[in-house]
Symmetry: C2
Subunit: 198 residues, 2 copies
Amino acid sequence: MYYPEPISRLMESYMKLPGIGEKTAARLAFYTINMKEEDVTDFAKNLVSVKRDLKYCSNCGNITESDPCSICSDMNRDQSTILVVEQPKDVIALEKMQDYQGLYHVLNGVLSPIEGTGPEDINIPTLLKRLQNEEVEEVIVATNANVEGEATATYLSRLIKPAQIRVSRLAHGLSVGSDIEYADEVTLLKAVQGRTEM
Amino acid sequence: MYYPEPISRLMESYMKLPGIGEKTAARLAFYTINMKEEDVTDFAKNLVSVKRDLKYCSNCGNITESDPCSICSDMNRDQSTILVVEQPKDVIALEKMQDYQGLYHVLNGVLSPIEGTGPEDINIPTLLKRLQNEEVEEVIVATNANVEGEATATYLSRLIKPAQIRVSRLAHGLSVGSDIEYADEVTLLKAVQGRTEM
């Protein structure tokens, strides 16, 4: 209406991103006009590339350029441990830690009766297939500590334990560097319950 | 490093936008992966389009698809009044008010000795040419109410007044220190109606 057509169209695209409303979209669109030509064409190419060049690893469900992904095809990693996460982002956070040497399995979702997400809708069948075919000794469940994450963890534990595979859950407690006075009750409860001998 | 190449490249592009750091860029990049194919290709096209299809109006300096722009070529508008603003965004804010019927002149900047921006660096010479060639009776200076904006207004006033053209400034219905683009329509209307002789 008031904006030239190319600007309003770009604003609409920006507004499809999470947390970006009309005012921010306008600010970004006008900013884009004054960006370097090269940066803008790169931006456009990178957008297309992220949809075109990325796929899900057929083994672990992580996002990857090559299938199987670099982690699944790395024979130096501990093949007997699988760490289960909700999203590809979680793998990145855990890899930044530079300590875990096992494999991953990305559910790409979480069990949620309210949203109608059942075990078949997320990567649980492929996980079970891996447990049958690979020599897995331990499954570490690292779903988030909320209702859906806990429910998914419990579901997986009940499913996997009968196969004589160890199932563990990431420790919950105080984050390093945080103060006790600012911790919420549930975190404190978990910290006390999971206390370790000194 | 930890991110697949296409994701880290897209993150770099997002981080070129104002106010977007690494965490937000990662969030947006992962969100983009799950966006509809069509929305992402449209986004890419709109980015390129905003650089390719927009130019500056050779008459008023506003951003436009066609030169001269739709406002300059609209003969129903009052040709005797020119409202001077800093940026194309300001024109949009003023047009939203749906009251002003005159023409515009976009400086695309503001006088700033600190940043070394002089009269020749912004669209002041083209404004003076318009004042010589067109039958202009009044120039309304609507630069922002900050140091540079006020200095630019004073400079223009001294330059234009000797040519027997009325120079006015938006009334300070606008709160001092705020930008025109963020003002609401009613405040802008009051500001135009209450403009004062310089």
